[in-house]
Symmetry: C2
Subunit: 262 residues, 2 copies
């Protein structure tokens, strides 16, 4: 697929999302109110935060009882022991602790900080609510995709996005945690490059799209949580799964030593 | 800066670039021929390959004499010993060897494979030419920026982009190796999130933009090596440098052991 132009639009007027909200209906209605018709081939990037909220993946910290290990992690990082318990619950392993940052392998395989547990953009944080990643972000993406098709007839791709860091570069960037209708890697344009030499590596198209959308979402993704990309070259895939994109990570032999040298 | 729409356009008709070519003139003339006027605030993403070629960063392998270490690396990877010599010349350190992949810290600090040395999209590869990264990619970006301003009056930002992999995910994605006129990290929209909680982390805006442009460049970047982004929220910076984006990497205590266990 070759295109020369592509556009990204943040849908204005997405309301604050509450547990139980119907995201496909909200996205469709918001686009309609914006006089923007979703079309075949569009890629809808949806911030993880609103997907999790709609699915009720919100935990009140008051109900979390920290284990001894969570309390050690809290002492080490200066974070709430109950939040640290959620990090432990949501991750396969802790691979590093650096100041306040806890590097985790999420139960779904994502390498990042804090197991995707988020305390920002939660109303009345003083009461202590945390947002977890969706239970099955690919299923979340599929449900949004199917819901949009049911309501508009348009066959779109959907990417549920979150922010990740890199071990090599400062700052965070948008990346995919759930996908539907789009192949995770993009094949080369052809068998060989312009001069018949072997092609360059496959491109991680879904993270590139999530990064592009993140530019418009800005820091407060709750304000602009849905971005529609149009004219994006990608390969449709009815069996898309983010798991196929993840490089298997070695798990530590034992629990991360929370008190090295002691 | 808040925007709701952004567009990316690959300039059609960029000719094959030769050493000594004037990239700002070519970009400006190509945009004009496309009836596309470059404007203040545009972000011009230029594929590293054409920047390197214009700057004559092309090496004929026939003139490279491999050292013993390069020959060991060649034996280990199945690659040309002279190409391996370029990997060694262009990098501070080799941090890993995995099959044919040589993970390097480039002399400018970029972590990637093969020290940015590229054999693809080179005419008549049989004769053996390799392309190195620009000597100073920030200076390359500044020169393009200044040249475009001289010719059009437009104050744009410029990103020189290359493809990198991730240790956590398959495939490659576009990332910045030189920048001009754009801050490397984007500040939060405000001091706090929607509910007054501390903001999310700074965003690596220049890599996000390079990833977006990479979507249009496709695999054969020589065919669509210049992408213009418009409507992109970013912070102008006259003292931009990609070095500020790089997380310092620990160098190995000694040369990577090319023959482990022997």
């Amino acid at each position: 697929v070759t295109t020369w132009d592509m556009t990204f639009r943040a849908l204005p007027g997405i309301p604050l999302i509450q547990p139980g909200d119907d995201l496909p209906a909200i996205i469709t209605d918001t686009a309609k109110a914006d006089e923007f018709a979703l079309a075949d081939g569009d890629v809808i990037v949806v911030a993880q935060k609103i997907v999790s909220k709609a699915e009720g993946r919100v935990v009140q910290l008051a109900g979390v009882v920290p284990t001894a290990r969570a309390r050690e992690l809290a002492k080490r990082t200066g974070r709430d022991p109950r939040l640290c318990q959620l990090y432990l619950d949501e991750s396969q392993a802790i691979t590093n602790v650096n100041g306040r940052h806890v590097v985790t392998i999420h139960r779904l395989g994502f390498v990042g900080t804090g197991a995707g547990v988020d305390m920002s953009n939660i109303a009345d944080r003083a009461d202590g609510y945390a947002v977890l990643l969706p239970a099955d972000p690919d299923a979340s993406a599929r449900a949004i995709r199917n819901g949009i098709r049911d309501r508009t007839g348009a066959t779109v791709a959907v990417i549920v996005s979150d922010s990740f860091g890199s071990p090599f570069r400062e700052g965070a960037f948008g990346a995919a945690i759930g996908i539907a209708g789009i192949r995770h890697l993009e094949e080369p344009d052809g068998e060989a490059d312009l001069f018949g030499n072997p092609s360059r590596p496959l491109m991680n198209r879904v993270d590139e799209i999530a990064s592009a959308a993140s530019i418009l979402m800005g820091q407060t993704a709750a304000a602009r949580p849905v971005v529609v990309g149009r004219g994006i070259p990608y390969t449709a895939d009815e069996n898309a799964s983010i798991a196929k994109l993840l490089t298997p990570q070695p798990l530590p032999d034992r629990d991360y030593d929370l008190i090295p040298g002691i």
